[in-house]
């Protein structure tokens, strides 16, 4: 819906834009911060993931409302947890919008995808038996409408009445439908592969800790 034309929401001054970016970036760092030091490999992997998905979003931008980021956020949340999923969503929104067009709507896109990542972390999309495709498809369908709904709030600048907002939402339904079909396709084609890609291998320290711990119990 946010791609509908003629509506941009409140206009930001250059200073407000910078502040907005700083706030978003701070959120991402806060979400990624951890008391224990992360291995450099983890950080590189996260950076690669964010850049790749941002690039795909930029490349696919000419196709109306087909959003690969939505399913990606869902699965990153499912595999890496709510904090890293939300950080991923915020960074992808910021970086891709740097090329597509930055503005007030970036906040809502970041919030939309972050909330989807959090939902993904709670929905048990990946269980001990593997990737649950049916549940992922259901979640991606709901995520399409949820994301578009959240982003639609970006048009509220005090001049739009409730009725106009509802009409705006109604006009966007075909776009929501397209987002939904796109999400389903991504989930079916790439969901399993992407989930395995995100699967965390236990580090040597973790293996050692597990082994020692189990021996201690035995002893």
């Amino acid at each position: 819906m946010f791609q509908a034309m003629g509506v941009h929401g409140p206009t930001l001054s250059p200073l407000a834009s910078v502040l907005l970016d700083v706030v978003l970036l701070s959120c991402a760092f806060w979400l990624l911060a951890k008391p224990t030091k992360r291995p450099i490999f983890d950080s590189l992997f996260m950076a690669t993931l964010v850049l790749s998905v941002s690039l795909i979003r930029v490349v696919m931008q000419p196709i109306p409302n087909v959003q690969p980021v939505t399913v990606a956020a869902l699965l990153v949340g499912a595999q890496l947890g709510a904090r890293r999923g939300a950080a991923f969503a915020v960074l992808v929104a910021m970086i891709s919008n740097f090329f597509i067009g930055d503005g007030w709507w970036t906040v809502f896109q970041a919030a939309g995808w972050a909330s989807i990542a959090i939902a993904g972390s709670r929905l048990s999309l990946v269980t001990s038996t593997g990737f649950n495709l049916g549940r992922a498809c259901m979640a991606s369908v709901i995520a399409a409408f949820w994301f578009d709904f959240i982003v639609s709030f970006s048009i509220l600048d005090g001049t739009i009445s409730f009725t106009e907002f509802i009409i705006y939402l109604g006009h966007g339904l075909p776009f929501d439908f397209l987002h939904m079909v796109g999400n389903l396709t991504f989930a079916i084609w790439l969901g399993g592969w992407f989930t395995r890609l995100l699967e965390e291998e236990p580090s040597l320290e973790e293996i050692e800790f597990t082994v020692v711990n189990s021996h201690g119990i035995d002893g």
């Binding site: 003629g6 009409i167 109604g170 006009h171 079916i188």
Partner: protein, 554 residues
């Protein structure tokens, strides 16, 4: 795999690009004939393998016949016809009636009041009859009605036998000029210089309606909505729809000065004037569906292939060609046929064998003939669109593999192929789906707010019309007086043209996006219609007949 996937998704964007073939590329110049003096004020006529052209405004007003290679076959003149002869030639096929039988012939009405039936093969006068002259004689379009021809004379209308030219009756009307006759089930319609619309039954009993809209200088058009006329006033014109059964004016659409002769095909009507060429769709009402800035004041050629060709009646001007795409959009491009200057005669098109001919003539009294050989095999190869064919192949491939996977129990791959197929299909129908949805939505839930108010400083002529306001560098630029625009984009284009403001836009998958206005791009432009913010693309946002559109930079 990922690359292939992305490529497949981009295919619809590739096939969305259309290629247009310029008229100049498909037509070649055949021959021309320079009459040296006078004007070609009305359309040539092709009949009996010969091309007939009438010239006037010189010492020897005449009808001249040529073969298809440009050789002059015969020449018939009428020195008494001293004014511009603009009554179109009328071809009559051989037949018989109560008055007798008649051969193939061409009827010619002269400004001297003379009406002649000529043999197309050699120009022999088969019969002639004289009508009244009050300064001018016959100037309008004659009409065929069974075994009779109905002739608009200078101050009346008469019915004449085709067999011998015998007058059946003549009824006095108002003074007429270029006022052709239209035949309908109940009789005949015609207009006059005082703005009366006349209806006559087949025995000559007349009823007149004072429309008070201006001079009616064409044959009225019979449409489903009513009788359509384009009346000429002192400073403009009015396209009007009249209901003859209860004598009421149903519609009045303001238009530009000096109207052209309107033309009808089925439910569609084309009108012209010194400002615009319009296309109307007439069912229960006549609705303007296209307005294209173009200066035309004479005849408009509308051909079987849907193309419209009209002369631009300006000094140093040329012809305009208009293409209708799927009955939806009318596009315009100028064509250079090597004739420049004023012109009011419509070109004609006809085919002989595999060759189609287009013939132009204008006020320079030069006739130019173009031909186009229809190379069926070549054109079919040129029209082969590999993008579309490839997409169709992919769709069928996905459909087939989906079925195969379903039947073989490979559910995972069935879901993969069918989801991709669904996505491609949704992307293909999406532009139409989105447009139709928006239109239906707007119709179901019309916006009621109207905070954009009339500015007292605006001229009264803008009252009841469409108005556009541009906020450029803090200054409002307003323009009004527009009619017939259905969407914001069309209205905005017209306003920019009128204000000579540059407008750049880009077509995206969800409609036209306005990139810059008057060179100002900024962070985009947004619009409101009657005070309500636009929430979809400008071309999908509907405007009504009195909408005020405001464009503001973001």
């Amino acid at each position: 795999m990922a690359l292939l996937f992305v490529s497949l998704l981009l295919v619809p964007a590739i096939i969305a690009q259309e290629s247009a073939t310029p008229w100049d590329d498909t037509h070649s110049f055949s021959w021309e004939y320079d009459f040296q003096t006078g004007y070609i004020s009305t359309s040539p006529l092709f009949t009996g393998e010969q091309l007939l052209v009438r010239t006037s405004g010189n010492d020897e007003p005449a009808v001249t016949a040529f073969d298809l290679t440009g050789n002059k076959i015969w020449h018939h003149s009428n020195a008494a016809s001293t004014n511009n002869d603009m009554s179109p030639l009328l071809s009559i096929q051989a037949g018989q009636g109560q008055c007798g039988s008649w051969p193939d012939m061409v009827l010619v009405g002269w400004t001297s009041g003379l009406i002649e039936a000529l043999a197309p093969s050699n120009g022999t006068v088969l019969w002639s009859t004289q009508s009244e002259v009050i300064g001018w004689g016959v100037t309008g379009q004659l009409a065929l009605d069974g075994e009779f021809v109905v002739i608009p004379t200078r101050q009346g209308v008469g019915q004449y036998c085709l067999a011998d030219g015998q007058q059946q009756w003549w009824t006095e009307t108002g003074l007429g000029w270029r006022n052709g006759v239209t035949v309908d089930e109940l009789g005949y319609f015609m207009g006059d210089e005082s703005g009366h619309l006349w209806h006559l039954n087949r025995t000559g009993n007349a009823t007149s309606h004072a429309l008070q809209l201006g001079k009616i200088r064409h044959a009225p058009l019979v449409t489903q909505a009513g009788i359509l006329i384009h009346a000429q006033a002192a400073a403009g014109s009015t396209i009007a729809v009249f209901n003859p059964s209860n004598a009421t004016l149903l519609q009045q659409i303001p238009a530009g000065p000096s109207p052209a002769i309107p033309s009808v095909r089925g439910e569609y009507v084309v009108t012209g004037d010194s400002s615009n060429l319009r296309r109307l769709h007439c069912t229960n009402v006549c609705k303007v569906i296209d307005v294209i800035p173009f200066h035309t004041n004479g005849e408009i050629g509308w051909f079987d292939d849907g193309q419209i060709l009209a002369p631009s009646n300006l000094p140093e001007s040329n012809w305009g060609i208009f293409f209708i795409h799927d009955q939806e959009n009318l596009t315009y491009s100028p064509i250079d046929v090597g004739l420049y200057g004023y012109g009011t005669a419509a070109p004609i098109q006809f085919s002989v064998g595999l060759t189609s001919f287009t013939v132009f003539g204008n006020d320079q009294s030069i006739l130019r003939v173009f031909s186009n050989i229809e190379e069926v095999e070549t054109s079919s190869l040129e029209e082969f669109d590999w993008g579309v064919q490839g997409l169709i192949f992919v769709i069928f491939l996905l459909l087939g593999t989906s079925c195969a996977f379903l039947l073989s129990g490979k559910r995972e791959w069935f879901w993969r192929t069918s989801s991709l197929l669904a996505l491609i299909l949704v992307l293909l129908i999406f532009p139409d789906l989105s447009n139709q949805w928006s239109k239906s939505f707007d119709e179901q839930f019309p916006e009621k707010s109207s905070s954009e108010e009339w500015n007292e400083q605006w001229p009264d002529a803008w009252l009841g019309t469409q108005i556009v306001i541009f906020e450029i560098n803090g200054v409002e630029h307003s323009i009004g007086g527009f009619v017939g625009h259905d969407d914001v984009f069309s209205l905005t284009q017209a306003a920019c043209k009128e204000l000579e403001i540059e407008l750049t836009s880009d077509l995206t998958g969800i409609g036209w996006y306005v990139e810059s206005i008057d060179g100002i791009e900024g962070e985009g432009w947004e619009f409101s219609v009657d005070g309500s913010k636009g929430i979809i693309s400008a071309d999908n946002s509907i405007v009504n007949t009195t909408s005020i559109v405001r464009w503001t930079p973001v």
